[in-house]
Protein backbone atom coordinates (compact mmCIF):
# COMPACT_ATOMS: atom_id res chain seq x y z
CA UNK A 1 0.00 0.00 0.00
CA UNK A 2 2.73 2.39 1.01
CA UNK A 3 4.74 1.64 -2.10
CA UNK A 4 1.63 2.24 -4.15
CA UNK A 5 1.16 5.67 -2.63
CA UNK A 6 4.79 6.56 -2.99
CA UNK A 7 4.89 5.52 -6.62
CA UNK A 8 1.67 7.35 -7.24
CA UNK A 9 3.21 10.45 -5.77
CA UNK A 10 6.24 10.05 -8.01
CA UNK A 11 4.27 9.30 -11.14
CA UNK A 12 2.18 12.48 -11.09
CA UNK A 13 3.13 15.51 -13.06
CA UNK A 14 3.52 18.28 -10.54
CA UNK A 15 1.95 21.69 -10.94
CA UNK A 16 3.62 24.49 -9.01
CA UNK A 17 0.74 24.73 -6.52
CA UNK A 18 0.89 21.01 -5.81
CA UNK A 19 4.65 21.03 -5.39
CA UNK A 20 4.37 23.97 -3.05
CA UNK A 21 1.69 22.32 -0.97
CA UNK A 22 3.69 19.09 -0.70
CA UNK A 23 6.67 21.07 0.50
CA UNK A 24 4.46 23.00 2.89
CA UNK A 25 2.92 19.86 4.31
CA UNK A 26 6.32 18.22 4.73
CA UNK A 27 7.66 21.27 6.56
CA UNK A 28 4.57 21.39 8.76
CA UNK A 29 5.18 17.83 9.85
CA UNK A 30 8.89 18.48 10.37
CA UNK A 31 8.42 21.58 12.53
CA UNK A 32 5.66 19.87 14.49
CA UNK A 33 8.02 17.04 15.36
CA UNK A 34 10.88 19.43 16.13
CA UNK A 35 8.73 22.00 17.96
CA UNK A 36 10.38 21.64 21.41
CA UNK A 37 13.79 22.12 19.79
CA UNK A 38 13.02 25.11 17.59
CA UNK A 39 10.31 26.98 19.53
CA UNK A 40 11.76 29.98 21.36
CA UNK A 41 9.48 29.36 24.34
CA UNK A 42 7.57 26.48 25.85
CA UNK A 43 4.08 28.01 25.97
CA UNK A 44 2.95 25.29 28.39
CA UNK A 45 5.53 26.23 31.02
CA UNK A 46 4.26 29.18 33.08
CA UNK A 47 7.78 29.99 34.23
CA UNK A 48 8.80 30.88 30.69
CA UNK A 49 5.90 33.28 30.17
CA UNK A 50 5.90 36.90 31.25
CA UNK A 51 2.38 38.12 31.92
CA UNK A 52 3.47 41.75 31.85
CA UNK A 53 4.44 41.31 28.22
CA UNK A 54 0.94 40.24 27.17
CA UNK A 55 -0.41 41.55 23.87
CA UNK A 56 2.99 42.73 22.62
CA UNK A 57 2.91 43.51 18.90
CA UNK A 58 5.08 41.52 16.45
CA UNK A 59 8.78 42.27 16.67
CA UNK A 60 8.77 43.28 20.34
CA UNK A 61 11.89 42.34 22.27
CA UNK A 62 10.86 40.92 25.61
CA UNK A 63 12.61 39.96 28.81
CA UNK A 64 14.24 36.55 29.08
CA UNK A 65 15.99 37.28 25.78
CA UNK A 66 12.90 36.64 23.70
CA UNK A 67 12.21 38.28 20.40
CA UNK A 68 8.44 38.03 19.90
CA UNK A 69 8.59 37.67 16.13
CA UNK A 70 4.80 37.46 15.72
CA UNK A 71 3.92 39.13 19.03
CA UNK A 72 2.41 37.65 22.17
CA UNK A 73 -1.15 36.69 23.07
CA UNK A 74 -3.33 38.09 25.84
CA UNK A 75 -1.44 36.11 28.47
CA UNK A 76 2.06 36.79 27.20
CA UNK A 77 2.66 33.57 25.29
CA UNK A 78 4.90 33.90 22.25
CA UNK A 79 2.74 33.43 19.14
CA UNK A 80 5.44 31.57 17.19
CA UNK A 81 5.80 29.04 19.99
CA UNK A 82 2.05 28.76 20.42
CA UNK A 83 1.71 27.96 16.71
CA UNK A 84 4.46 25.34 16.81
CA UNK A 85 3.09 23.58 19.88
CA UNK A 86 -0.51 23.99 18.73
CA UNK A 87 0.42 22.40 15.43
CA UNK A 88 1.53 19.29 17.29
CA UNK A 89 -1.80 18.99 19.07
CA UNK A 90 -3.82 19.62 15.91
CA UNK A 91 -1.82 17.10 13.91
CA UNK A 92 -1.78 14.40 16.56
CA UNK A 93 -5.50 14.76 17.22
CA UNK A 94 -6.46 14.65 13.55
CA UNK A 95 -4.09 11.90 12.44
CA UNK A 96 -4.84 9.61 15.38
CA UNK A 97 -8.57 10.13 15.11
CA UNK A 98 -8.63 9.62 11.34
CA UNK A 99 -6.53 6.48 11.55
CA UNK A 100 -8.68 4.99 14.30
CA UNK A 101 -11.88 6.07 12.55
CA UNK A 102 -10.63 4.38 9.37
CA UNK A 103 -9.74 1.21 11.23
CA UNK A 104 -13.08 1.04 13.03
CA UNK A 105 -15.07 2.07 9.99
CA UNK A 106 -13.31 -0.45 7.72
CA UNK A 107 -13.77 -3.30 10.16
CA UNK A 108 -17.42 -2.42 10.67
CA UNK A 109 -18.08 -2.06 6.94
CA UNK A 110 -16.31 -5.27 6.00
CA UNK A 111 -17.98 -7.18 8.84
CA UNK A 112 -21.35 -5.90 7.70
CA UNK A 113 -20.65 -7.13 4.20
CA UNK A 114 -19.26 -10.48 5.31
CA UNK A 115 -21.83 -11.46 7.91
CA UNK A 116 -24.84 -9.86 6.25
CA UNK A 117 -28.22 -10.40 7.92
CA UNK A 118 -28.75 -8.60 11.25
CA UNK A 119 -25.11 -7.56 11.63
CA UNK A 120 -25.35 -5.77 8.33
CA UNK A 121 -28.69 -4.23 9.22
CA UNK A 122 -27.52 -3.08 12.64
CA UNK A 123 -24.29 -1.56 11.44
CA UNK A 124 -25.72 0.09 8.38
CA UNK A 125 -28.68 1.47 10.31
CA UNK A 126 -26.20 3.15 12.61
CA UNK A 127 -24.21 4.43 9.65
CA UNK A 128 -27.33 5.79 7.98
CA UNK A 129 -28.35 7.49 11.21
CA UNK A 130 -25.03 9.23 11.47
CA UNK A 131 -24.72 10.20 7.86
CA UNK A 132 -28.16 11.75 7.95
CA UNK A 133 -26.83 14.49 10.23
CA UNK A 134 -24.06 17.01 9.50
CA UNK A 135 -20.69 15.86 10.87
CA UNK A 136 -20.24 19.04 12.85
CA UNK A 137 -23.46 18.36 14.70
CA UNK A 138 -22.40 14.79 15.51
CA UNK A 139 -19.04 16.02 16.76
CA UNK A 140 -20.78 18.71 18.80
CA UNK A 141 -23.15 16.27 20.50
CA UNK A 142 -20.28 13.85 21.10
CA UNK A 143 -17.98 16.39 22.73
CA UNK A 144 -20.76 17.78 24.91
CA UNK A 145 -21.52 14.28 26.12
CA UNK A 146 -17.89 13.26 26.58
CA UNK A 147 -16.62 16.43 28.22
CA UNK A 148 -13.42 18.39 27.50
CA UNK A 149 -9.92 17.01 27.00
CA UNK A 150 -7.64 15.99 24.18
CA UNK A 151 -8.53 12.29 24.47
CA UNK A 152 -12.23 13.18 24.41
CA UNK A 153 -11.77 15.28 21.27
CA UNK A 154 -10.11 12.34 19.54
CA UNK A 155 -13.01 10.12 20.58
CA UNK A 156 -15.56 12.65 19.36
CA UNK A 157 -13.82 12.92 15.99
CA UNK A 158 -13.77 9.13 15.64
CA UNK A 159 -17.48 9.02 16.37
CA UNK A 160 -18.05 11.74 13.81
CA UNK A 161 -15.97 10.13 11.06
CA UNK A 162 -16.12 6.33 11.21
CA UNK A 163 -19.42 6.05 9.36
CA UNK A 164 -18.03 7.42 6.10
CA UNK A 165 -15.41 4.69 5.99
CA UNK A 166 -17.88 2.01 6.96
CA UNK A 167 -20.22 2.81 4.09
CA UNK A 168 -17.46 2.79 1.47
CA UNK A 169 -15.79 -0.34 2.82
CA UNK A 170 -19.07 -2.21 2.87
CA UNK A 171 -19.74 -1.37 -0.78
CA UNK A 172 -16.33 -2.58 -1.89
CA UNK A 173 -16.36 -5.63 0.35
CA UNK A 174 -19.76 -6.68 -0.98
CA UNK A 175 -18.41 -6.88 -4.51
CA UNK A 176 -15.19 -8.48 -3.24
CA UNK A 177 -17.05 -11.14 -1.26
CA UNK A 178 -18.61 -12.53 -4.43
CA UNK A 179 -15.28 -13.04 -6.14
CA UNK A 180 -13.94 -16.60 -6.66
CA UNK A 181 -10.98 -16.28 -4.26
CA UNK A 182 -13.40 -15.70 -1.42
CA UNK A 183 -15.30 -18.84 -2.26
CA UNK A 184 -11.99 -20.65 -2.27
CA UNK A 185 -11.11 -19.27 1.14
CA UNK A 186 -14.43 -20.37 2.53
CA UNK A 187 -14.06 -23.83 1.01
CA UNK A 188 -10.66 -24.13 2.64
CA UNK A 189 -12.46 -23.56 5.94
CA UNK A 190 -10.20 -20.73 6.98
CA UNK A 191 -11.30 -19.14 10.26
CA UNK A 192 -13.66 -16.18 9.87
CA UNK A 193 -11.28 -13.70 11.46
CA UNK A 194 -8.55 -14.83 9.08
CA UNK A 195 -10.82 -14.43 6.08
CA UNK A 196 -11.84 -10.95 7.18
CA UNK A 197 -8.48 -9.62 8.30
CA UNK A 198 -6.17 -11.38 5.82
CA UNK A 199 -8.27 -11.39 2.69
CA UNK A 200 -11.38 -9.26 2.67
CA UNK A 201 -9.99 -6.26 4.54
CA UNK A 202 -6.75 -5.80 2.56
CA UNK A 203 -8.63 -6.05 -0.70
CA UNK A 204 -11.30 -3.57 0.34
CA UNK A 205 -8.90 -1.14 1.86
CA UNK A 206 -7.68 0.86 -1.11
CA UNK A 207 -10.75 2.97 -1.84
CA UNK A 208 -11.18 3.78 1.84
CA UNK A 209 -7.54 4.61 2.38
CA UNK A 210 -7.62 7.21 -0.35
CA UNK A 211 -10.13 8.98 1.84
CA UNK A 212 -7.79 9.30 4.81
CA UNK A 213 -5.82 12.39 3.77
CA UNK A 214 -9.01 14.32 3.01
CA UNK A 215 -10.53 13.17 6.28
CA UNK A 216 -7.42 14.27 8.18
CA UNK A 217 -8.03 17.70 6.70
CA UNK A 218 -11.63 17.53 7.88
CA UNK A 219 -10.49 16.42 11.32
CA UNK A 220 -8.13 19.38 11.68
CA UNK A 221 -10.96 21.75 10.78
CA UNK A 222 -13.43 19.99 13.06
CA UNK A 223 -11.06 20.00 16.03
CA UNK A 224 -10.35 23.67 15.43
CA UNK A 225 -14.06 24.44 15.25
CA UNK A 226 -14.87 22.57 18.46
CA UNK A 227 -11.97 24.24 20.24
CA UNK A 228 -13.13 27.57 18.86
CA UNK A 229 -16.57 27.02 20.35
CA UNK A 230 -14.89 26.43 23.70
CA UNK A 231 -15.66 22.70 23.75
CA UNK A 232 -12.21 21.36 22.99
CA UNK A 233 -8.69 21.28 24.34
CA UNK A 234 -7.70 22.59 27.85
CA UNK A 235 -7.17 26.36 28.09
CA UNK A 236 -3.49 26.20 28.96
CA UNK A 237 -2.58 23.90 26.06
CA UNK A 238 -3.98 25.61 22.99
CA UNK A 239 -4.30 23.82 19.66
CA UNK A 240 -4.21 25.90 16.49
CA UNK A 241 -7.97 26.22 16.64
CA UNK A 242 -8.13 27.41 20.23
CA UNK A 243 -5.18 29.75 19.63
CA UNK A 244 -7.29 31.40 16.93
CA UNK A 245 -10.27 31.44 19.27
CA UNK A 246 -8.25 33.07 22.07
CA UNK A 247 -7.38 35.85 19.67
CA UNK A 248 -10.94 36.39 18.47
CA UNK A 249 -11.88 38.69 21.33
CA UNK A 250 -8.75 40.74 20.69
CA UNK A 251 -9.43 40.95 16.96
CA UNK A 252 -12.09 43.63 17.44
CA UNK A 253 -9.64 45.75 19.42
CA UNK A 254 -7.05 45.80 16.67
CA UNK A 255 -4.65 43.25 18.19
CA UNK A 256 -4.92 41.28 15.00
CA UNK A 257 -1.73 39.22 15.41
CA UNK A 258 -3.09 37.03 18.19
CA UNK A 259 -5.54 35.29 15.90
CA UNK A 260 -4.29 36.15 12.42
CA UNK A 261 -1.02 34.20 12.48
CA UNK A 262 -2.32 30.99 14.07
CA UNK A 263 -5.21 31.25 11.63
CA UNK A 264 -2.90 31.52 8.64
CA UNK A 265 -0.95 28.52 9.90
CA UNK A 266 -4.18 26.58 10.29
CA UNK A 267 -5.40 27.53 6.83
CA UNK A 268 -2.07 26.57 5.26
CA UNK A 269 -2.15 23.24 7.04
CA UNK A 270 -5.65 22.32 5.92
CA UNK A 271 -5.18 23.60 2.40
CA UNK A 272 -1.94 21.66 1.89
CA UNK A 273 -3.46 18.49 3.34
CA UNK A 274 -6.46 18.86 1.04
CA UNK A 275 -4.45 19.59 -2.11
CA UNK A 276 -2.07 16.71 -1.48
CA UNK A 277 -4.97 14.49 -0.43
CA UNK A 278 -6.89 15.21 -3.63
CA UNK A 279 -3.80 14.33 -5.57
CA UNK A 280 -3.28 11.05 -3.74
CA UNK A 281 -6.91 10.14 -4.24
CA UNK A 282 -6.84 10.92 -7.94
CA UNK A 283 -3.67 8.98 -8.60
CA UNK A 284 -4.95 5.94 -6.71
CA UNK A 285 -8.29 6.04 -8.46
CA UNK A 286 -8.14 3.29 -11.10
CA UNK A 287 -10.37 5.28 -13.43
CA UNK A 288 -7.71 7.93 -13.58
CA UNK A 289 -4.90 5.70 -14.76
CA UNK A 290 -5.91 5.95 -18.36
CA UNK A 291 -5.75 9.73 -18.29
Amino acid sequence: MKAQIVSALKRRRHGPVLTASKLLLASYILVAIAAPLIAPQNPYDPLQIYGWEASSPPGTRGSGGYLYLLGTDGLGRDIVSTILYGLRISLVVSIVSSALAALIGLTAGVSAAYFGKWVDIAIMRLVDLQLSLPTILIALIAIVTLGPGIDRIILALIIAQWATYARIARGVALSEANKPYMDAARLMRLPTSRIIFRHLLPNSIAPAVTLIPIEVGHAVALEATLSFLGLGVPIDKPSLGSAVANGFQYLLTGQYWISLFPGLALFGLIASINLVGEDVRRSLDPRNHSL
Binding site: R125, S132, L133, P134, L137, L140, S259, N274
Partner: protein, 325 residues
Protein backbone atom coordinates in the same frame (compact mmCIF):
# COMPACT_ATOMS: atom_id res chain seq x y z
CA UNK B 1 -46.50 0.93 -3.81
CA UNK B 2 -42.68 1.21 -3.88
CA UNK B 3 -43.03 4.95 -3.27
CA UNK B 4 -45.06 4.29 -0.15
CA UNK B 5 -42.57 1.82 1.21
CA UNK B 6 -39.75 4.26 0.51
CA UNK B 7 -41.62 6.99 2.37
CA UNK B 8 -42.36 4.63 5.25
CA UNK B 9 -38.73 3.56 5.37
CA UNK B 10 -37.65 7.17 5.46
CA UNK B 11 -40.10 8.00 8.19
CA UNK B 12 -39.07 5.10 10.40
CA UNK B 13 -35.43 6.02 9.84
CA UNK B 14 -36.11 9.62 10.83
CA UNK B 15 -38.02 8.45 13.86
CA UNK B 16 -35.16 6.21 14.94
CA UNK B 17 -32.75 9.08 14.41
CA UNK B 18 -34.79 11.37 16.64
CA UNK B 19 -35.07 8.80 19.42
CA UNK B 20 -31.34 8.07 19.34
CA UNK B 21 -30.42 11.72 19.23
CA UNK B 22 -32.78 12.74 21.99
CA UNK B 23 -31.46 9.99 24.24
CA UNK B 24 -27.82 10.91 23.66
CA UNK B 25 -28.46 14.63 23.89
CA UNK B 26 -30.53 14.26 27.03
CA UNK B 27 -27.98 12.14 28.85
CA UNK B 28 -25.16 14.28 27.48
CA UNK B 29 -26.49 17.54 28.85
CA UNK B 30 -27.44 15.84 32.08
CA UNK B 31 -23.97 14.43 32.63
CA UNK B 32 -22.25 17.76 32.02
CA UNK B 33 -23.55 19.58 35.06
CA UNK B 34 -26.45 20.85 37.08
CA UNK B 35 -28.33 23.70 35.39
CA UNK B 36 -29.72 24.81 38.72
CA UNK B 37 -26.59 26.92 39.26
CA UNK B 38 -27.65 29.03 36.30
CA UNK B 39 -31.18 29.40 37.60
CA UNK B 40 -30.54 30.70 41.11
CA UNK B 41 -28.29 33.63 41.89
CA UNK B 42 -25.37 31.61 43.20
CA UNK B 43 -23.91 34.69 44.90
CA UNK B 44 -26.89 35.09 47.21
CA UNK B 45 -28.59 31.70 47.20
CA UNK B 46 -28.63 29.53 50.31
CA UNK B 47 -28.35 25.74 50.10
CA UNK B 48 -32.12 25.54 50.68
CA UNK B 49 -32.73 27.80 47.70
CA UNK B 50 -30.63 25.50 45.54
CA UNK B 51 -32.41 22.45 46.83
CA UNK B 52 -35.83 24.03 46.23
CA UNK B 53 -34.85 25.02 42.71
CA UNK B 54 -33.65 21.50 41.94
CA UNK B 55 -37.02 20.12 42.97
CA UNK B 56 -38.90 22.83 41.10
CA UNK B 57 -37.12 21.88 37.87
CA UNK B 58 -37.71 18.17 38.47
CA UNK B 59 -33.97 17.54 38.53
CA UNK B 60 -34.13 15.51 41.73
CA UNK B 61 -35.79 12.65 39.81
CA UNK B 62 -33.70 9.78 38.41
CA UNK B 63 -32.54 10.48 34.87
CA UNK B 64 -34.66 7.75 33.23
CA UNK B 65 -37.79 9.18 34.81
CA UNK B 66 -36.85 12.65 33.64
CA UNK B 67 -36.36 11.26 30.14
CA UNK B 68 -39.70 9.46 30.11
CA UNK B 69 -41.40 12.63 31.33
CA UNK B 70 -39.64 14.54 28.56
CA UNK B 71 -40.74 12.05 25.89
CA UNK B 72 -44.27 12.12 27.26
CA UNK B 73 -44.31 15.89 26.98
CA UNK B 74 -42.86 15.88 23.50
CA UNK B 75 -45.55 13.50 22.31
CA UNK B 76 -48.09 16.07 23.44
CA UNK B 77 -46.13 18.75 21.60
CA UNK B 78 -44.34 20.30 24.56
CA UNK B 79 -40.56 20.46 24.85
CA UNK B 80 -40.71 21.94 28.32
CA UNK B 81 -39.89 25.40 29.57
CA UNK B 82 -36.50 27.01 29.20
CA UNK B 83 -34.67 27.06 32.53
CA UNK B 84 -33.21 30.45 31.73
CA UNK B 85 -35.89 32.33 29.82
CA UNK B 86 -38.98 30.77 31.42
CA UNK B 87 -40.48 30.43 27.95
CA UNK B 88 -41.73 27.34 26.13
CA UNK B 89 -38.56 25.90 24.58
CA UNK B 90 -39.98 25.18 21.14
CA UNK B 91 -41.53 28.64 20.93
CA UNK B 92 -38.12 30.07 21.75
CA UNK B 93 -36.48 28.10 18.93
CA UNK B 94 -39.18 29.21 16.50
CA UNK B 95 -38.69 32.83 17.51
CA UNK B 96 -35.01 32.57 16.52
CA UNK B 97 -35.82 30.83 13.24
CA UNK B 98 -36.47 33.90 11.04
CA UNK B 99 -32.95 35.20 11.74
CA UNK B 100 -31.34 31.92 10.69
CA UNK B 101 -33.65 31.39 7.74
CA UNK B 102 -33.07 34.79 6.21
CA UNK B 103 -29.32 34.50 6.67
CA UNK B 104 -29.17 31.06 5.02
CA UNK B 105 -31.47 32.21 2.21
CA UNK B 106 -29.42 35.28 1.40
CA UNK B 107 -26.24 33.21 1.54
CA UNK B 108 -27.73 30.72 -0.92
CA UNK B 109 -28.97 33.53 -3.16
CA UNK B 110 -25.36 34.68 -3.38
CA UNK B 111 -23.80 31.23 -3.66
CA UNK B 112 -26.05 29.51 -6.20
CA UNK B 113 -25.78 31.92 -9.18
CA UNK B 114 -22.17 32.83 -8.48
CA UNK B 115 -21.06 29.21 -8.05
CA UNK B 116 -22.97 27.99 -11.11
CA UNK B 117 -21.66 30.84 -13.23
CA UNK B 118 -18.04 30.32 -12.22
CA UNK B 119 -18.38 26.57 -12.76
CA UNK B 120 -19.87 27.01 -16.21
CA UNK B 121 -17.11 29.36 -17.23
CA UNK B 122 -14.37 27.14 -15.87
CA UNK B 123 -15.86 24.00 -17.41
CA UNK B 124 -16.30 25.71 -20.74
CA UNK B 125 -12.62 26.67 -20.72
CA UNK B 126 -11.30 23.60 -18.95
CA UNK B 127 -7.54 23.42 -18.85
CA UNK B 128 -7.04 27.17 -19.18
CA UNK B 129 -5.36 29.26 -16.52
CA UNK B 130 -8.77 30.48 -15.37
CA UNK B 131 -9.96 26.92 -14.92
CA UNK B 132 -6.90 25.76 -13.03
CA UNK B 133 -6.99 28.81 -10.78
CA UNK B 134 -10.65 28.20 -10.12
CA UNK B 135 -10.04 24.58 -9.13
CA UNK B 136 -7.22 25.44 -6.73
CA UNK B 137 -9.18 28.35 -5.35
CA UNK B 138 -12.16 26.15 -4.69
CA UNK B 139 -10.04 23.59 -2.84
CA UNK B 140 -8.61 26.44 -0.75
CA UNK B 141 -12.02 27.94 -0.11
CA UNK B 142 -13.28 24.57 1.06
CA UNK B 143 -10.20 24.25 3.29
CA UNK B 144 -10.89 27.39 5.27
CA UNK B 145 -12.53 26.47 8.57
CA UNK B 146 -15.76 28.41 8.63
CA UNK B 147 -14.92 30.20 11.86
CA UNK B 148 -11.66 31.52 10.51
CA UNK B 149 -13.27 32.67 7.29
CA UNK B 150 -15.81 34.54 9.39
CA UNK B 151 -13.06 36.14 11.45
CA UNK B 152 -11.15 37.23 8.38
CA UNK B 153 -14.30 38.78 6.96
CA UNK B 154 -14.67 40.73 10.20
CA UNK B 155 -11.02 41.78 10.08
CA UNK B 156 -11.20 43.01 6.50
CA UNK B 157 -14.82 44.10 6.21
CA UNK B 158 -15.31 45.62 9.63
CA UNK B 159 -12.07 46.43 11.42
CA UNK B 160 -9.69 47.50 8.67
CA UNK B 161 -12.20 49.21 6.39
CA UNK B 162 -15.07 49.93 8.76
CA UNK B 163 -17.55 49.20 5.94
CA UNK B 164 -19.73 46.72 7.78
CA UNK B 165 -20.64 46.14 11.42
CA UNK B 166 -18.76 43.32 13.11
CA UNK B 167 -21.80 41.67 14.61
CA UNK B 168 -25.40 41.80 15.66
CA UNK B 169 -28.59 41.80 13.67
CA UNK B 170 -29.26 45.50 13.36
CA UNK B 171 -32.73 46.88 12.92
CA UNK B 172 -35.60 44.64 11.99
CA UNK B 173 -39.01 45.18 10.47
CA UNK B 174 -42.15 43.21 11.11
CA UNK B 175 -43.56 40.94 8.41
CA UNK B 176 -45.94 38.00 8.80
CA UNK B 177 -45.78 38.51 12.55
CA UNK B 178 -42.01 37.97 12.66
CA UNK B 179 -39.07 40.32 12.82
CA UNK B 180 -36.86 40.33 9.70
CA UNK B 181 -33.58 42.09 9.03
CA UNK B 182 -33.66 41.95 5.25
CA UNK B 183 -36.49 44.47 5.16
CA UNK B 184 -34.37 47.31 6.52
CA UNK B 185 -31.26 48.81 4.98
CA UNK B 186 -29.52 48.64 8.31
CA UNK B 187 -30.45 44.96 8.71
CA UNK B 188 -29.21 44.07 5.21
CA UNK B 189 -26.00 45.88 5.93
CA UNK B 190 -25.51 43.78 9.06
CA UNK B 191 -26.19 40.67 7.02
CA UNK B 192 -23.48 41.10 4.38
CA UNK B 193 -20.52 39.63 6.29
CA UNK B 194 -22.25 36.64 7.91
CA UNK B 195 -24.00 35.80 4.63
CA UNK B 196 -20.66 35.88 2.82
CA UNK B 197 -19.16 33.62 5.49
CA UNK B 198 -21.88 31.06 4.82
CA UNK B 199 -21.83 31.59 1.06
CA UNK B 200 -18.12 31.32 0.21
CA UNK B 201 -17.65 27.58 0.85
CA UNK B 202 -20.88 26.96 -1.02
CA UNK B 203 -19.74 29.01 -3.98
CA UNK B 204 -16.68 26.75 -4.14
CA UNK B 205 -18.72 23.58 -3.82
CA UNK B 206 -21.32 24.55 -6.42
CA UNK B 207 -18.64 25.81 -8.78
CA UNK B 208 -16.78 22.49 -8.66
CA UNK B 209 -19.96 20.58 -9.30
CA UNK B 210 -21.12 22.72 -12.18
CA UNK B 211 -17.62 22.68 -13.68
CA UNK B 212 -17.43 18.90 -13.81
CA UNK B 213 -21.01 18.75 -15.12
CA UNK B 214 -20.21 21.27 -17.81
CA UNK B 215 -17.13 19.33 -18.92
CA UNK B 216 -19.22 16.18 -19.19
CA UNK B 217 -22.01 17.87 -21.15
CA UNK B 218 -19.64 19.74 -23.42
CA UNK B 219 -18.26 16.42 -24.61
CA UNK B 220 -21.68 15.01 -25.44
CA UNK B 221 -22.87 14.65 -29.03
CA UNK B 222 -25.73 17.08 -28.79
CA UNK B 223 -23.47 19.91 -27.72
CA UNK B 224 -21.18 19.24 -30.63
CA UNK B 225 -24.27 19.15 -32.83
CA UNK B 226 -25.43 22.51 -31.52
CA UNK B 227 -22.03 23.98 -32.14
CA UNK B 228 -21.99 22.55 -35.65
CA UNK B 229 -25.39 24.12 -36.19
CA UNK B 230 -23.72 27.44 -35.53
CA UNK B 231 -25.41 28.36 -32.24
CA UNK B 232 -23.51 30.95 -30.25
CA UNK B 233 -21.50 29.46 -27.41
CA UNK B 234 -23.36 31.68 -25.00
CA UNK B 235 -26.68 30.28 -26.16
CA UNK B 236 -25.40 26.73 -25.90
CA UNK B 237 -24.14 27.34 -22.39
CA UNK B 238 -27.31 28.95 -21.09
CA UNK B 239 -29.99 27.06 -23.02
CA UNK B 240 -28.49 23.60 -23.28
CA UNK B 241 -25.64 23.01 -20.85
CA UNK B 242 -27.18 24.75 -17.87
CA UNK B 243 -30.46 22.78 -17.87
CA UNK B 244 -28.49 19.57 -18.22
CA UNK B 245 -26.34 20.17 -15.20
CA UNK B 246 -29.10 21.66 -13.10
CA UNK B 247 -30.18 18.46 -11.37
CA UNK B 248 -27.03 17.85 -9.31
CA UNK B 249 -26.74 21.56 -8.63
CA UNK B 250 -30.26 21.84 -7.28
CA UNK B 251 -29.53 18.73 -5.22
CA UNK B 252 -26.45 20.21 -3.65
CA UNK B 253 -28.26 23.50 -3.01
CA UNK B 254 -30.95 21.62 -1.12
CA UNK B 255 -28.44 19.58 0.86
CA UNK B 256 -26.24 22.55 1.63
CA UNK B 257 -29.21 24.57 2.81
CA UNK B 258 -29.64 21.94 5.51
CA UNK B 259 -25.91 22.06 6.17
CA UNK B 260 -26.12 25.81 6.62
CA UNK B 261 -28.51 25.29 9.50
CA UNK B 262 -25.75 23.31 11.19
CA UNK B 263 -22.88 25.58 10.21
CA UNK B 264 -24.93 28.52 11.34
CA UNK B 265 -23.83 27.39 14.80
CA UNK B 266 -20.34 28.68 14.05
CA UNK B 267 -21.12 31.70 11.92
CA UNK B 268 -23.91 32.95 14.15
CA UNK B 269 -21.71 32.62 17.22
CA UNK B 270 -18.96 34.73 15.68
CA UNK B 271 -21.25 37.40 14.27
CA UNK B 272 -23.47 37.41 17.36
CA UNK B 273 -26.35 36.70 15.01
CA UNK B 274 -29.30 35.79 17.25
CA UNK B 275 -30.43 32.71 15.35
CA UNK B 276 -31.04 29.04 16.04
CA UNK B 277 -27.36 28.09 15.89
CA UNK B 278 -26.32 30.66 18.47
CA UNK B 279 -29.23 29.61 20.64
CA UNK B 280 -27.93 26.02 20.53
CA UNK B 281 -24.40 26.96 21.61
CA UNK B 282 -25.64 29.35 24.30
CA UNK B 283 -28.05 26.76 25.64
CA UNK B 284 -25.32 24.13 25.72
CA UNK B 285 -23.14 26.50 27.75
CA UNK B 286 -26.05 27.28 30.09
CA UNK B 287 -27.16 23.63 30.25
CA UNK B 288 -30.64 24.77 29.30
CA UNK B 289 -31.72 21.24 28.48
CA UNK B 290 -35.24 21.87 27.16
CA UNK B 291 -33.87 24.39 24.67
CA UNK B 292 -30.95 22.18 23.66
CA UNK B 293 -33.33 19.30 22.99
CA UNK B 294 -35.82 21.43 21.08
CA UNK B 295 -33.05 22.96 18.93
CA UNK B 296 -31.38 19.63 18.17
CA UNK B 297 -34.70 18.07 17.25
CA UNK B 298 -35.58 20.97 15.03
CA UNK B 299 -32.24 20.93 13.18
CA UNK B 300 -32.40 17.15 12.71
CA UNK B 301 -35.97 17.23 11.42
CA UNK B 302 -35.20 20.09 9.08
CA UNK B 303 -32.12 18.33 7.77
CA UNK B 304 -33.84 15.01 7.22
CA UNK B 305 -36.86 16.66 5.62
CA UNK B 306 -34.66 18.63 3.24
CA UNK B 307 -32.80 15.45 2.25
CA UNK B 308 -36.10 13.73 1.56
CA UNK B 309 -37.35 16.67 -0.48
CA UNK B 310 -34.15 16.69 -2.51
CA UNK B 311 -34.48 12.97 -3.24
CA UNK B 312 -38.08 13.45 -4.27
CA UNK B 313 -37.14 16.32 -6.50
CA UNK B 314 -34.40 14.22 -8.00
CA UNK B 315 -36.83 11.46 -8.84
CA UNK B 316 -39.33 13.83 -10.38
CA UNK B 317 -36.85 15.82 -12.39
CA UNK B 318 -34.65 13.02 -13.63
CA UNK B 319 -36.57 9.98 -14.78
CA UNK B 320 -33.39 7.94 -14.94
CA UNK B 321 -33.24 8.00 -11.17
CA UNK B 322 -35.48 5.49 -9.47
CA UNK B 323 -36.08 5.62 -5.81
CA UNK B 324 -34.67 2.67 -4.01
CA UNK B 325 -35.05 1.76 -0.42
Amino acid sequence: MPLISVVLGRLSQAFLLLIAMSLIGFIGVHSVGNPVFNVVNIETATPEDIHAATIALGLDQPIWRQYLAFIGNVVSGNFGTSYIYHLPAFELVMSKLPATLELASIAMLIAAPLGTGLGLLAGRRSGTLFDRTMVKASVSALSIPSFWLAMMLILVGAILTGWFPSGGRGLTASFLGQEWSFLTGNGLWHMVLPALALAIPNIALIARLSRSGTIEVENLDFTRFCRAKGLSSRRILLRHTLPNISVPIVTIIGLQFGGMLAFAVVVETIFSWPGVGKLLIDSIQLLDRPVVMATLTFIAVAFVALNALVDLFYAVLDPRVRLSS
